[in-house]
């Protein structure tokens, strides 16, 4: 019961943080013509944020509770 609630809360948190990361205004902060490791900043940012949200979701549902 408890672990289910916790995993669910974590997924909702991932949803909310994803909503913020993937949209204006945070997105506009990275929308500039600079590069990081030779990759345009906005490309790197969106893919990195995306991967991070997926990682959080994976962590939320796969973590073994002690």
């Amino acid at each position: 019961m408890h672990r289910r609630v916790l995993a669910g809360d974590r997924l909702v948190a991932a949803f909310l943080i994803g909503c913020v990361l993937f949209n204006y205004p945070l997105l506009s902060l990275f929308d500039r013509h600079t590069q990081i490791f030779g990759i345009p900043l906005v490309f790197a940012y969106v893919f990195f944020a995306w991967a991070a949200v997926i990682a959080v979701m994976a962590w939320a549902v796969e973590r073994r509770f002690k």
Binding site: A7, G8, L11, V12, A14, F15, G18, C19, F22, N23, Y24, L27, S28, F30, D31, H33, Q35, F37, G38, I39, P40, V42, F43, V46, F47, W50, A51, V53, I54, M57, A58, V61, E62
Partner: protein
């Protein structure tokens, strides 16, 4: 190796492989050994979301709008995070009610309405047919591209080609055959297709591998990694604008709208509903799929930008369509094998989408469009008791062929028109219209049939007016004035600036107006009147799906029906043999060993209706069951009463659970208390036995000496006096022992008299030293005092404190070596009390004994040889006295260097506060 025969052979071979996998999956499912019972397969089957629109189209969009192709995959990622709640609830509802399609879902929720199911079906078909056409177009373009090898010639569809010579016509037919074989092999009450899911999962794997292969080739073969390709963005002024999130100037609103739209599409596209909800084997698979599916989307998109940029650079000025870069880049490099793999990947993306979408649509068309019409013919529906399962299958097969042919027709008509290119998002916006009725229906009891109908119709009309018709106009099928001047030349009605709303891209514009109309009508009309009986019942079934309640439907059915009628009815749609098997199995489950039920009760009627619902849809099932059973209509009051009762029952049962939990806890406590009591009892027994033992020792000596005196009258006077002295001292010891035992018992039971008063501890110590001075003198020991003047007063019983001091001092003396002993008594002021220490230079106490000495009748030392010098009760009593006045008593000792007994007592003021607090509490 890219000649026509090879391409055709490979394509057919690949389709054959899919057939084999699907056949094997179905066979294993029949044996009860599902091959799709894994979260990974489940996630892969969800990846049917990625069609050719992803496989070829992503690169095309990226070539125009940079990273603007991506929100379509971010939306599903976010929704999957909520899938744990949304999809889980949908799965529960679907399984409990044997719902087979999204049309059935909505129809069932709002009182099993035929009209609503039909409307949803029409919206889905209108929205999806062009999308199917897009898949056919993609396959046919990729075939003609491949066959033009080694040249790269853009397919020209302006030249009219006869249907018989058109490859995509045959592709449509082959897909129809495949769909028929695995989608409608038999009628199943749950409408699940394990073999098809296995094939779809395989296709998802193939398209991912193919895309990663071409991505890796372009990025690392053609160029020198990501950095090399992206460098051109900065150096090439024509590409510079792509390195922005909104290069097309649509603004962040467009980005946001795409996320919202794709998030809803991933839930409500018929194919997604089919694989994610209807085909779900085990709801636990949702957990892993929640991140595996987004991960799949991430992987398949990693190389989109490099391929798009690579293509733009490579084919600059050659008129190669960016939508074909995935295929034309390997072709231009003479990578024949890779090109073939890409082609197969694209074929996978197309066939996967077409098969699942067609199965889902055909179920809807059959159950929610054709069956209701057929059932209107009374003759067919009721009087003629013939087996209809064959008819049912034929309807579905017919629907499949029809849908695919419609798709082909649209493709022939639209060709290269805008209406086909933009259809991906137009389709998404169409199915997004289901969202209010679906989500509202799962979480809001107030939604009614009228509300859902109004909302869907309004949303659909606005969608058609703001998105579909404009796409026709842009294709040249409608006059341009429609777009620029508005309907009938009324400027406010311009479809993409409706009522003058400008500044939005067309998707955001449509999303806003259609949702405004949809949600507004849904909520508004729902609020006009309270839900009716059927709506209220179904609202409970859907909204409370995650609560564990019994079948609500059965509780709400009153009437009479014959078992034979019901079985015959089910038999007509599922086949008599299967109906027989199902009914016998049901009777066995209900405890009728012979498999025969005599009476048809509400549960059996419910069971029959759910069997039928799987085959012909819930609305038709309701009508059919009503036709063979004599039902008593319930008033809304009765229904609400029963539902209230059900919810009260739930409350009661929760209450009961809580009570039983409390009871368990109480029982545990009782057990513990009992154990404690038994422990105390044992302790009491121990004390009794040790007290008896302690009393016996002096008594024995007294008796022994008395007997000696009696038996020997000629004993010397000196001996007599010595013996009498011993008797007296033993008798004194006995008295002391009894007194102390009683004293301790009194203290422990709380019946002791305490005369608490404020007193000067220094005075108490001095008085005690005076009383014991004789003892010190006898041992030749020194006493050192370190007492401050006028210490703060403490609150205690003077006599009791003297008792404690006397005990500590006499103990100290007892163990001193004669002549060289020294005892030091110190009074010290602490932060909140006083500390007294009595230190001796005797033998000390071993660490392991330092706690033991405070236990009753424990005397440290070798009791076998040395006669005990005390009662063994002094220290326990002292400790209790000190504790009674809020202090502590303990010992510190290093063996060989003496022992220091210390006790603390709080100041009178502190103590009073503590008492006040204790009393106040």
């Amino acid at each position: 190796m890219l000649e026509a025969p090879v391409v055709i052979a490979v394509s057919l071979g690949y389709l054959g492989l899919l057939f084999a996998v699907a056949w094997w999956g179905d066979k294993r499912a029949d044996q009860g050994k599902s091959i799709i019972a894994s979260p990974t397969i489940y996630a892969l089957s969800m990846a049917v979301y990625c069609t050719t629109w992803t496989f070829y189209g992503s690169v095309g969009r990226a070539a125009v709008s940079g990273i603007g192709f991506l929100p379509v995959y971010l939306g599903p990622t976010l929704v999957m995070a909520l899938g744990w709640f949304l999809l889980l609830k949908m799965i529960r509802i679907v399984k409990a009610n044997r719902i087979t399609s999204i049309a059935d879902f909505i129809s069932s929720r709002y009182g099993k309405s035929h009209l609503l199911g039909g409307l949803v079906t029409i919206i889905a078909v209108v929205g999806i047919i062009p999308y199917i056409a897009l898949q056919l177009k993609a396959v046919s373009s990729s075939v003609s591209l491949l066959l033009s090898y080694p040249d790269i010639v853009m397919p020209d569809r302006s030249a009219t080609m006869s249907v018989a010579a058109d490859m995509s016509f045959y592709i449509a037919l082959i897909l129809a055959a495949f769909t028929i074989v695995f989608g409608t092999r038999h009628l199943d009450a749950t409408e699940r297709h394990e073999g098809m899911v296995a094939a779809i999962a395989l296709e998802s794997g193939v398209k991912l591998v193919a895309f990663l292969a071409v991505g890796g080739f372009v990025t690392y073969g053609l160029y020198d990694g990501f950095g090399d390709i992206f460098e051109h963005i900065t150096t090439n002024p024509e590409l510079r604008h792509l390195a922005s999130a909104i290069p097309s100037g649509a603004g962040y609103t467009g980005w946001f709208s795409l996320i919202v739209l794709s998030g809803m599409a991933v839930l409500f596209l018929p194919r997604q509903f089919q694989v994610a909800v209807v085909e779900n084997v085990n709801e636990a698979h949702l957990k892993r799929a929640a991140w595996l599916f987004p991960l799949y989307l991430l992987l398949i998109n990693i190389f989109v930008l490099p391929i798009a940029l690579g293509g733009l650079l490579h084919f600059a000025g050659q008129g190669v369509d960016a939508d074909t870069f995935v295929l034309t880049l390997p072709m231009s490099q003479r990578q024949e094998g890779l090109a073939l793999l890409v082609f197969i990947g694209g074929l996978s993306a197309a066939t996967g989408m077409v098969i699942v979408e067609t199965i889902a649509l055909s179920t809807m068309v059959c159950n929610d469009l054709v069956m209701p019409l057929l059932l209107r013919h009374k003759r067919l529906a009721i009087e003629e008791a013939k087996d209809l399962s064959g008819v049912l299958l034929s309807i579905r097969r017919g629907a499949i062929v029809l849908i695919l042919l419609l798709g082909y027709l649209y493709f022939r008509l639209a060709g290269e028109a805008y209406a086909l290119v933009a259809i991906g998002l137009i389709s998404f916006a169409a199915v997004a219209q289901f969202a209010p009725a679906m989500i509202g229906g799962m979480y809001w009891r107030g939604g009614t049939r009228g509300g859902a109908l109004a909302g869907l119709a309004a949303g659909f009309l606005v969608w058609a007016y703001t998105l579909l018709l404009p796409s026709f106009a842009k294709s040249g099928w409608l006059p341009d004035e429609f777009l620029t001047l508005g309907l009938f030349g009324v400027e406010l009605l311009r479809p993409q600036q409706l009522f003058g709303l400008g500044g939005f891209d067309e998707i955001s514009h449509c999303l806003f107006w259609s949702f405004f109309a949809n949600i507004g009508a849904y909520v508004g009309v729902s609020l006009l009147r309270p839900p009716m009986v059927a709506e209220a019942t179904q609202a409970t079934v859907f909204v409370d799906a995650l609560k564990n309640n019994g079948p609500v439907g059965a509780a709400l059915w009153r009437g009479r029906a014959k078992v034979s009628d019901l079985q015959q009815l089910v038999g007509r749609f599922l086949g008599p043999t299967r109906a027989q098997t199902l009914f016998v199995a049901y009777a066995r489950r209900r405890g009728h060993a012979d498999g025969v039920m005599l009476e048809a009760d509400a549960q059996l009627v419910q069971f029959a209706e759910s069997l039928l619902a799987g085959a012909i849809g819930s609305a038709s099932a309701r009508v059919m069951v009503a036709s063979v059973a004599k039902e008593e209509p319930l008033s809304i009051e009765e229904v609400m009463h029963i539902l209230d009762e059900a919810s009260q029952l739930r409350t009661y049962s929760r209450e009961l659970e809580r009570k039983s939990r409390e009871l368990t806890a109480a029982t545990l406590e009782l057990q513990e208390a009992n154990e404690r009591l038994q422990e105390l009892d044992r302790v009491k027994d121990d004390i009794m036995s040790s007290v008896t033992h302690e009393l016996r020792t002096p008594l024995t000596s007294i008796r022994a000496f008395s007997e000696l005196l009696r038996d020997d009258p000629r004993m010397h006077l000196a001996d007599r006096e010595r013996f009498l002295g011993l008797i007296v001292s033993e008798a004194e010891r006995l008295t002391r022992l009894i007194n102390q035992t009683l004293d301790l018992a009194k203290i422990e039971s709380g019946r002791a008299d305490w005369n608490g008063c404020e007193l000067d501890l220094k005075e108490v110590i001095e008085q005690s030293i005076a009383a014991t001075s004789q003892l010190f003198r006898e041992k030749g020991a020194d006493v050192e005092l370190d007492l401050p003047d006028n210490p703060p007063l403490i609150l205690a019983d003077r006599d009791r404190l003297i008792q404690v001091m006397l005990n500590l001092l006499s103990n100290a003396v007892k163990f001193l070596a004669p002549g060289s002993g020294r005892v030091r008594v110190v009074l010290q002021q602490l932060a909140d009390g006083l500390e007294v220490s009595v230190a001796d230079n005797g033998p000390g106490i071993r660490a392991e004994d330092q706690q033991l000495i405070f236990e009753k009748f424990r005397q440290v030392g070798d009791t076998m040889t040395a006669k005990p010098a005390g009662t063994g009760l002094g220290l326990p009593i002292s400790r209790r006295i000190v504790e009674h006045f809020g202090g502590k008593l303990w010992v510190e000792s290093v063996p060989g260097e003496g022992a220091t007994f210390r006790f603390t007592l709080p100041f009178a003021t502190v103590r009073e506060e503590a008492v006040a607090v204790a009393v106040g509490a």
